[in-house]
């Protein structure tokens, strides 16, 4: 069996035990279809298969490419594109139950005009985050328009993205409740069975939605790590030390292997100074040698994984499996 010391670096490594802990913890809190795992976080059908193995057969995607890849992997029981698309005809012919988020006349009409590629929609409602989603009071009208076009309306979705990352649980709870009251009001106007919302940061707070769209919980990052959730860090960027000086050391991961929008990564056994394209300069806590390897925790997991072709499932120093990050691109 391969050793992690033989991997070409930088490389994504996933601790099998921590992943399993995270998956079972979430499945206990939200069994079956109560969780609609969001694949955008990991973009990996092998990891999605592990989530399906926990009993979750409904999934959430952010891109058409993710929908196509999940269907091709045989994970298409119930795929929600939780995002708008202006090219819904790209979803034609998938071996999957396909539902698409719509939030405007234009996106409803595009879905209806896609030649049967889309048969069902969710009305995407803006619940406080200035991004996609219709006004809550417009949801019923859009649902009527969709039904007139012959589309099935399965309900509503509304992501409280302005709440999920708040450090203070009381603030998170208050913002979540306000958002969900808007979503429930919209749902009264749309009908349908689904009230889809939530994320890793509100998975145990959002009791208003009937399905939770969480993704980061499986692998975690430093941003979510601050919230005191019961999920463990399970993913690292495994890096080699290229250079050591009396003041600092340099690892071979950088801006092309780490999502940087949440700031610098954290390095185990050191303090990060700065990142360049292919390097991270850091002050080590204890002496290192060129060729030593270090674990780096990304600040934000989603855009980190999107840089990598594969991730390695590991136990201690053993590489158990190699998983392609096969849902990248658009």
């Amino acid at each position: 069996m391969a050793s992690i010391h033989d991997l070409i670096t930088p490389a994504l490594i996933v601790d099998a035990d921590a992943l399993q802990h995270n998956l079972t913890t979430m499945a206990a809190a939200h069994p079956g279809a109560r969780l609609r795992p969001h694949v955008k976080a990991h973009k990996c059908t092998e990891l999605a298969r592990r989530q399906a193995g926990q009993g979750h057969r409904t999934f959430c995607c952010a891109t058409v490419r993710e929908m196509i890849g999940m269907a091709a992997a045989g994970l298409g029981d119930d795929l929600l594109l939780a995002n708008e698309t202006l090219q819904p005809e790209r979803l034609a012919g998938l071996e999957a139950r396909v539902t698409v988020a719509v939030d405007s006349d234009a996106t409803v009409d595009a879905a209806a005009a896609a030649g049967g590629a889309v048969k069902e929609v969710l009305i995407d409602v803006n619940v406080g985050l200035p991004r996609c989603g219709c006004e809550p009071t417009d949801a019923g009208r859009l649902a009527d328009r969709a039904r007139k076009h012959g589309l099935g309306v399965r309900g509503v979705m509304g992501y409280e993205g302005h709440a999920v990352g708040m450090d203070d649980r009381a603030v998170r709870t208050q913002l979540c409740e306000q958002a969900m009251q808007l979503l429930l009001a919209a749902h009264r106007d749309t009908g349908g069975d689904i009230i889809s919302a939530g994320g890793t940061g509100t998975y145990d707070i959002n009791t208003w939605a009937n399905e939770i769209q969480a993704g980061s919980y499986a692998l975690m990052d430093t941003a979510y790590g601050k919230l005191g959730l019961p999920f463990r860090q399970a993913l690292w960027v495994w890096s080699s030390v290229l250079c050591v000086t009396p003041a600092y050391a340099v690892a071979d991961c950088g801006l092309k292997s780490l999502g940087m929008d949440h700031g610098n990564p954290t390095i185990e056994g050191g303090a990060v100074w700065f990142c360049s394209d292919e390097h991270t300069t850091f002050g080590p806590d204890s002496p290192l040698r060129v060729g030593d390897r270090v674990r780096v925790v990304p600040a934000h997991i989603d855009p980190t994984i999107a840089y990598h072709e594969r991730m390695y499932l590991v136990s201690g120093e053993q590489v158990l499996e190699t998983w392609p990050v096969d849902l990248r691109g658009w």
Copy 2:
């Protein structure tokens, strides 16, 4: 011929005229081997072929994967890995002249032990940026060590990365000169023909090096755009408007299609509010409609391109060519 309006978005589009202007402007300033184009910026052998067409046959890489890809593309006349590697044996068998940067006993010894995969090295000298590179006074000793191992020593390299981005040209010049005095002193101790340094921000300032390692000049970004250089913005992330409200609009590019370490991108015809994984929320200058398309200028080009599988060479609204971003990964 395809129209840019038919592209799946987000997509990298490259303006053919602006690219040509940039390539010819740089080739006039640094003809032939005076420029060693850095492929890390674009990771695209088709674009490298255009640079070779301008007379540059020596190239600079940041990863082993880039070296392998450039050799496979027939662009291996003189490839410099301007970075340390602990797995130099991966360079074995390339149809290329291979030179590797070394900065320590460990990296010299690894190159020497790579079974002939590496025959020539450059001594990488720290000239002020806390990253890889030996102390200037240690360069001669490392060159001797390399020669004792039977390696050819072609000279020195030292990147004034702390200087290239300074807004004030006088500061940029002063820092560059100080750095290059260190590099020239090291070169006196190492011998060899090459004094390799510089970047887009110092391409017309660094008169001490005898070859310039510039990459960003070909496509540019907002960071380099502030420096008053004669290179034009030639690359955009082409995006579709998914949602329009009275206050803002949402485009379908985000943290997975834009390098974010230099901050938010710039959107033509609007002001960016914030980016999410697959969205950019912005205030448009004039009314937009769902389905309109906008051009987004990345703040930092290198980590932006590394997210994309391909780029499209365009002229006006016509797509002329599709170029794979084929040098990604490690």
